[in-house]
Amino acid sequence: MGKDVFEIVVNCVKMLLIFLVMVQLVPILVWLERRVSAFMQNRFGPNRVGPLGLIQLLADAVKFLFKEPFFPEKGMAVMYYGAPIMALIPGALALAAIPLGAPFHLEQFTWLGREWGPYDFIMQGYDFGVGIVIVLGVSSLGAYSLLMAGWGSSNKYSLLGALRASAQMVSYELALGLSLVGILMVFNTFSFYDIIAQQTGMPLTFNFFGKVHSIAWLPNWGIFFNPLGALIFFCASFAETNRLPFDLPEAEGELVAGFHTEYGGFALLMFYIGEYGHMMVASALMATFYFGGYTIPYVANESVANWVSSGGLATHPNWAAFLTSLIFFLVFLLKVFLFLLIYIWVRWTLPRFRYDQLMDLGWKTMLPWALFNTVLTAVWLAFSHRPV
């Protein structure tokens, strides 16, 4: 975790901050969802409690806390109470593995009468070299919270809902995994930092069958190298998070609320935190792979650093370094919010799939198209980067 006390403390604080980012973003997202859906349906949405209804979510959370604790008759305690905890874990673990901002370097500085050596911090929970494989592995654990909830509440229909939801989540994981193979081939690396480094600054340049073309007015983002993969990844991530138009397991008549029918109080809220966590992970991956991560499209990272230090904002170079990575963090947050907005927007526009249509779409259209995209990228790369 670090060489000396300062680094360990900062790493632990960073860990807590990332966890708080996820837990605090959920109320904002729920508020945003209710406001945006209200706006779309030409009504107001929560605006009574606090300015613009922002405190509404705090009121809901407190109300949820004081509900009567309910335990189904023949339910299994370990599974019933374990499911909400298991719902929290995969989303947060995956989010902490994705870089939220540029790493920054602190020179030697004196503080509290002691000399603190130079440090290198990354705006990220923990950095495994092969980031994407760990993120996919951890987010594939999400199916267990559904199965445990369905089985623990010993209700026949919630078990059916849980099986349907996990079968859907499992089969769309295939398309999710396969759609990333194309973009990984283009970037030729697994680590997030190399991927983002290859997408910074210069306008779009690509090698098409030997000749290098460059389009000045397009940024060098991943989506232009692999548009089909981006589309499949984004649609499959809808199904991963059980959001509309793929939320059939929670919507059918007799399934009522699917796997979390028997839950009330804060456990229900924890399932929502899990769902929004998966949504944030999918939007963060979308932004990192296809839209240049935390970098500003045409501006190289160094020019942002120079702008901050020259702008007189920060006197000490350490503060300048910290401020530049803060700017990158805000840019990344803006991109993630754009995708979250699209999630909410799609929820209130598209009708819901029937279950066999939903499974057919997953197995018979998304998977073949993702495979086609992989083969297409392979052939294009093989013929254009040939050593002539």
């Binding site: 790493n11 860990m15 509900k67 604790p69 189904p72 929970g125 495994f128 010993s154 079968a167 040939r386």
Partner: protein
């Protein structure tokens, strides 16, 4: 190594936070007043006839089996994606394309057979 330590500490924080929330929410509310009608699993008003473990359509496990098989084929594509450009740049582009072509051909044959054998059809 320190990344793994951070990972485990984070799992500890999450599990602790979740358990704290569960304990808090079950201790704060009014004392649970068990009453038979409320404790029955919610079947939208209809009295449940059998317990949860009764017969449920066995179609789901077939999806899980096929998921495992195709997931492994995708896992084999990750190292291919990583070393693809190195092979192409060192002049072995056709070799790697051929090797993976056979693998993807088998993948497609398996997928087509699954579709044709109606293993994945949900008649509901």
């Amino acid at each position: 190594m320190s990344a793994l330590l951070a990972f485990l500490i984070f799992v500890g924080i999450l599990a602790g936070f979740g358990a704290f929330l569960i304990i808090l929410s079950s201790s704060l509310g009014p004392r649970p007043k068990p009453n038979p009608a409320k404790n029955m699993p919610y079947e939208s008003g209809v009295a449940g006839t059998e317990t949860a473990e009764s017969r449920v359509s066995v179609k789901f496990y077939l999806t899980a089996i096929l998921f495992i098989i195709f997931d492994i084929e995708i896992i084999f594509m990750y190292p291919w994606a990583l070393s693809f450009m190195d092979f192409v740049k060192s002049g072995q582009g056709m070799y790697i394309l051929g090797a993976m072509g056979i693998f993807i051909f088998l993948f497609v044959v398996g997928l087509i057979w699954e579709v044709k054998s109606k293993a994945l059809d949900w008649n509901r």
